[in-house]
């Protein structure tokens, strides 16, 4: 995506070195905790010592508790709600239904895709566990007791489960309350050039096609969603402590929904126990708690149970995709086509920038230089929970990467080419950047072959190819499979003219204040849920001002004090707010120069900043130097008349472009021919996220994301039965991997800086979740592709893998290779 943004980033020594471009890891390790140093996470002390402060830790005087009554049915009309038996309980204070909310104009709320969702069901239930009523009581047990006593009469309707079923002619209409809606179709979307793509396919030597489902997942953060809403009738002010990845955007939405003026709404996102995209949308529970607090004039806490979180809050994926590739017989890919059927659930509540109904899915040409591409997508309503959030990814880029990386493997098998070699033949060459893709994306920089080569070497690729062959020849009980994924991510939304959330452009912000004693506070518009911002953003400031990282504190998450920002998701914090922090620091540095000149009694033009020492000195006289600490004192105690006192700067950063992190992952698995179980033999991840701020935090992000990729590929699935009952809605059925299921990861990196980012960084939090599932599936398929297996659906349960083995006639009995003898006799026992 190109943009005409005029938000120029100041050229600095860091960005522009002698030969013009950003230099990888040039300025690492001055010992002050700047760029490239493995600074210990500042936030960990409070987490490790049990002093974190999560929403559920917050207790306020006179606080009430909210429990939501949920529908057992997926599709039903509500005939009657009777809360009298609940109200009869001593500790129950109120029972709320849609009627009560209607009075205050809070019966519905907008979704991020401009649909309208009932806060409490007004007429018709549209998915199982939908919010029907709320009970407010003096403690959470009493609230739950009350919820059990609310009597709801339902007229049960036929549910519609599955997007394909939803689009059948005779399917019951789920959203009949909408004007002009007489079926379950939401929208069609198209990208690329159909004609050019058809032409390429017609002329191709070979074409391949594969259907694959990216199953419904849930981000499943360990902390569920919740809030404490506190209406203060004295100040006419609503304060909501909530699990929010985007506090400012939520403040604006909250104000719009409630009619409370925005300056009288304060959203605080305290410590958040994982978000992964789940905490980007607004949920009915937040609105109900706020409404209850407003009506009762007491603080109200609402915290979800685990199964409520999985069953009702934003799911991810659920794309049924058919991919096609056209290629020459030596494996040069000429065209790609994809057709998608998307299940959006009962409301269109996907969390995408508003102009992108299918998110960034059209980046499905991946890391390859492909002449023609075309994609089409149809979205449908079903009687399932709404969602389509960006689960640890940029808006559907995960689905796109899965599609292209799987298809490349399918093509490699069709042509009997090595999957590493076929990638090499098709990569966008490193000298072709900036590169515009067939679907209109402007890739900033990349060196895909370098990352792949590094991964191949780390994986001992040739050895495992030989081992794989040996096992096939010996008819061994365990087969080897080798899977590759050479993915490209697109992260860091804006630019604001292209990307917005509910109309608000996706810039971000930083506000840096240096105190008289030389330490500093950085406030940012993004919000950390485990990413380590309190450390990495401090490192950016340390680097840019020559300060010690311990002298910088990073604040986030409180809309009363932080500058406006769009929040943390889509790997946008470092690309956008990180850039804002660097630019704000450079503004401070500029002002610092004039103070330095004043202190050193030199002309401002003669003052130089030395990144290595972190000091300012007079040109040609390095001994006449001054540190930022001394300058800070000067700014407040001896400020030059030419400048305002103080040492502060703010920057709102609208990125000129997105950034394109990439990497190559190689997964080697052993597949058990008796049971279909898959073991990870080796897992190599080479990532390139441009210049690296804190390698240790990057490594941690990669590990976590790879674990989630393994969960995706092997276990996770929100399943429904035909009646719309969620059958995968708790941790006994929605399986997350534990440390036991996670192999050792061999991580490596290359560094290809972003040319347009002030510090050449790209964002990394999501690469592993995006890049690893296709590598894992490719590996399992690869173990069987010699017998014609071309695909296994995720999650690849032992059962699913065994079925694939069975179809390829590869299963084995345990008795195949052994026998028993008694004692130590050399001969097998006769029978």
């Amino acid at each position: 995506m190109s943009s005409e943004s005029d938000n120029t980033t100041e050229p600095t020594e860091y960005q522009h070195d002698d030969d013009g471009g950003p230099q990888p890891e040039k300025h690492c390790g001055h010992g002050r905790g700047g760029m490239g140093e493995e600074v210990t996470r500042k936030e960990d002390k409070r987490f490790i010592t049990g002093r974190g402060n999560y929403v559920d830790d917050i207790k306020k005087p006179r606080m009430l508790h909210c429990e939501i009554v949920r529908s057992p049915h997926a599709h039903a009309r509500i005939e009657d709600i009777d809360g009298s038996r609940a109200m009869a309980l001593d500790d129950v204070v109120a029972v709320l239904t849609a009627d009560d909310l209607l009075e205050h104009g809070l019966a519905t709320m907008p979704t991020l895709m401009d649909d309208t969702q009932d806060v409490l069901v007004n007429d018709k239930v549209k998915f199982q566990s939908q919010e029907v009523a709320a009970v407010i009581a003096t403690d959470r047990y009493a609230a739950k007791d009350g919820a059990e006593k609310v009597e709801v009469e339902y007229d049960v309707l036929d549910p519609v489960i599955g997007a394909e079923e939803a689009l059948e002619d005779d399917a019951p209409v789920i959203r009949e309350e909408l004007d002009d809606q007489d079926d379950n179709h939401i929208f069609d979307w198209e990208t690329g050039d159909a004609e050019a793509t058809d032409a390429v396919f017609d002329a191709a030597d070979v074409t391949v096609e594969e259907q694959m489902e990216y199953q419904r997942l849930h981000p499943a953060p360990i902390e569920t969603c919740g809030c404490v809403a506190d209406w203060d009738p004295g100040d006419d002010k609503m304060t909501v402590h909530m699990t929010s990845q985007a506090p400012h955007a939520h403040r604006t939405l909250f104000s719009q929904v409630s009619g409370i003026p925005e300056h009288k709404v304060r959203i605080v996102s305290p410590d958040v126990g994982g978000g992964f995209g789940n905490k980007v949308p607004i949920y009915p529970g937040y609105v109900v708690a706020a409404a209850a607090s407003y009506v009762l004039e007491r603080p109200v806490k609402w915290v979800e149970e685990r199964s409520e979180n999985i069953q009702t809050t934003g799911f991810a994926r659920d794309y049924d995709m058919t991919g096609e590739l056209a290629a020459t017989e030596n494996g040069e890919i000429k065209g790609v086509k994809v057709d998608v059927l998307a299940d959006h659930g009962a409301y269109n509540a996907a969390a995408q920038p508003s102009k992108f109904p299918a998110g960034f899915f059209n980046i499905f040409t991946g890391s390859y230089d492909i002449e023609a591409a075309h994609g089409s997508l149809t979205a449908a309503y079903t009687n399932t929970a709404p969602g389509g959030v960006a689960y640890r990814c940029s808006f559907r880029v995960t689905e796109a990467v899965y599609l292209i990386e799987r298809m490349v493997k399918v093509l490699a098998d069709e042509l009997d080419l090595d999957p590493a070699e076929i990638r090499r033949r098709n990569f966008i060459p490193s000298d072709a950047f900036p590169y515009e893709s067939a679907t209109g994306w402007n890739y900033d920089s990349g060196d895909y072959e370098k990352a792949l080569d590094k991964a191949l070497e780390m994986a001992d690729y040739d050895h495992y190819r030989e081992e794989q062959q040996r096992r096939i020849e010996e008819d061994a009980d365990k087969l080897i499979g080798i899977g590759i994924s050479s993915f490209t991510e697109v992260v860091g939304a804006g630019p604001g003219k292209q990307c917005d959330i509910a109309g608000i452009e996706m810039f971000d912000s930083a506000d840096l204040r240096v105190n008289p004693t030389g330490n500093a506070v950085l406030r940012v518009g993004v919000q950390t849920q485990g990413q380590g911002h309190e450390t990495t953003f401090a490192q950016i400031i340390a680097e840019e001002l020559g300060m010690d990282v311990d002298n910088i504190v990073v604040e986030h998450g409180d809309t009363d004090t932080e500058p406006y920002g769009l929040g943390t998701y889509g790997s946008r914090s470092t690309p956008v707010a990180g850039a804002a922090a660097a630019v704000a620091a450079r503004k401070v540095r500029d002002k610092a120069k004039s103070i330095a000149a004043n202190e050193l009694e030199a002309a401002e033009e003669d003052i130089e900043w030395d990144r290595e020492s972190g000091e300012f000195h007079v040109a040609g006289a390095p001994e006449r130097s001054i540190t930022i600490t001394e300058i800070a004192a000067g700014a407040y105690m001896n400020h030059p008349g030419s400048e305002e006192p103080g040492l502060e700067a703010t920057n709102y950063y609208d990125p000129p472009e997105m950034t394109y992190p990439f990497g190559s992952y190689i997964v080697i698995v052993e597949v058990d021919r008796e049971t279909g179980e898959v073991d990870f033999e080796k897992f190599v991840a080479v990532d390139d996220c441009g210049n690296r701020i804190n390698p240790m935090i990057i490594e941690g992000q990669i590990h976590g994301g790879l674990a989630q990729g393994i969960g995706t590929a092997m276990m996770e699935h929100v399943t429904y039965d035909d009646n719309g009952n969620v059958t995968g809605g708790d941790f006994m059925n929605y399986l997350l991997p534990t440390a036991k299921e996670i192999p050792n990861f061999d991580t490596g990196h290359t560094v290809t800086p972003s040319p347009h980012h002030p510090i050449g960084a790209k964002g990394v939090g999501e690469s592993p979740t995006v890049g690893s599932p296709p590598a894992i599936v490719n590996a399992v398929v690869d173990a069987m592709s010699h017998s014609g297996v071309s695909h296994v659906e995720m999650p690849m349960t032992p059962d699913a893998v065994w079925e694939a083995l069975d179809e390829a006639e590869l299963t084995l009995e345990p008795s195949a290779n052994v026998d028993f003898a008694f004692d130590t006799s050399e001969e097998p026992a006769d029978d």
């Binding site: 429990e67 959470r140 047990y141 609230a143 739950k144 007791d145 059990e148 149970e305 010996e474 008819d475 008796e674 049971t675 279909g676 179980e677 092997m714 276990m715 699935h717 399943t719 059958t727 995968g728 941790f731 006994m732 059925n733 399986l735 997350l736 991997p737 534990t738 036991k740 299921e741 349960t797 032992p798 059962d799 065994w802 079925e803 009995e813 345990p814 008795s815 290779n817 052994v818 026998d819 028993f820 003898a821 008694f822 004692d823 130590t824 006799s825 097998p828 026992a829 006769d830 029978d831």
Partner: protein
Amino acid sequence: MKAASFEHHEPTTVEEAVSLLESLDEPTILAGGQSLVPMLRFRLARPDTVIDINGIDSLEYLHEEDGYLRIGALARHADVEDTDVIADRYGSFADAAPLIADPQIRNQGTVVGSMAQADPKGDWGSVLIAHDGEVTARGPDGERTIPVDELFLLPYDTSLMDDELLTEARVPAPVEGEGSAYHKLKRKTGDYAMAGVAARLVLDDDGRIEDAGIGMTAVDITNARAADAEAHLEGERPSADLFEEAGELAAEASNPESDEHGDAGYKERMVDVLTQRALGDAAERAGAVKRRVPQ
């Protein structure tokens, strides 16, 4: 957890517990709580009174005595993992313990509680079947012994009376030439079995199978015995072919259901595979030698 309210009693002797069981209206016993607490949390269990037996020190034991391995009602899964005599002599117990749930759950959950829970996906029921084990119940009328084959009636339903406390589970100590093993297929740590098989073999001096026990997990309405397979093994010498036949018989005896974790047909096939694997290990531990057959 937001359980419905209940009354909590903490007896310190078996006698006190039994008299509470007798006097209170429909009381529920709390041992490790690893099955009961989730049921309380979902309000699937709504007892008025809970008798917490964790204060009865006399139930905390796990040892060999009088020709039995005796497991007191407060012996935790983790105790089984950590006891030397188990590691040395009870292959199936040593195999099963670390495969149950996760370490936190194993630190709390008890073997005897698992027997009372009678979850067809529980692992200990199969192990006790393979070992011809039994449990001891104490009620107002005194003590009685229930063979494991008579304990499980339906999922989560046993022949235990409402006013009886299980005090012990036990299996006969292994004889010369005995070996046992447990194999379990699960999708992750903390997950119950998709299928599990416990096998026990006793070989005579001649290397023939004198006695065989096979218990199956998660493939029927209760933990189940593969009686035909056991009968087929007895009097024969261990061999891959024999175990393959036994595996087929066990699979035939199983009745798995399809669910989120696997299709019924697959599970049946896995009973076959796991039976062969468990028999293989049991035979090895009983003194047979496993050899790879040249192709």
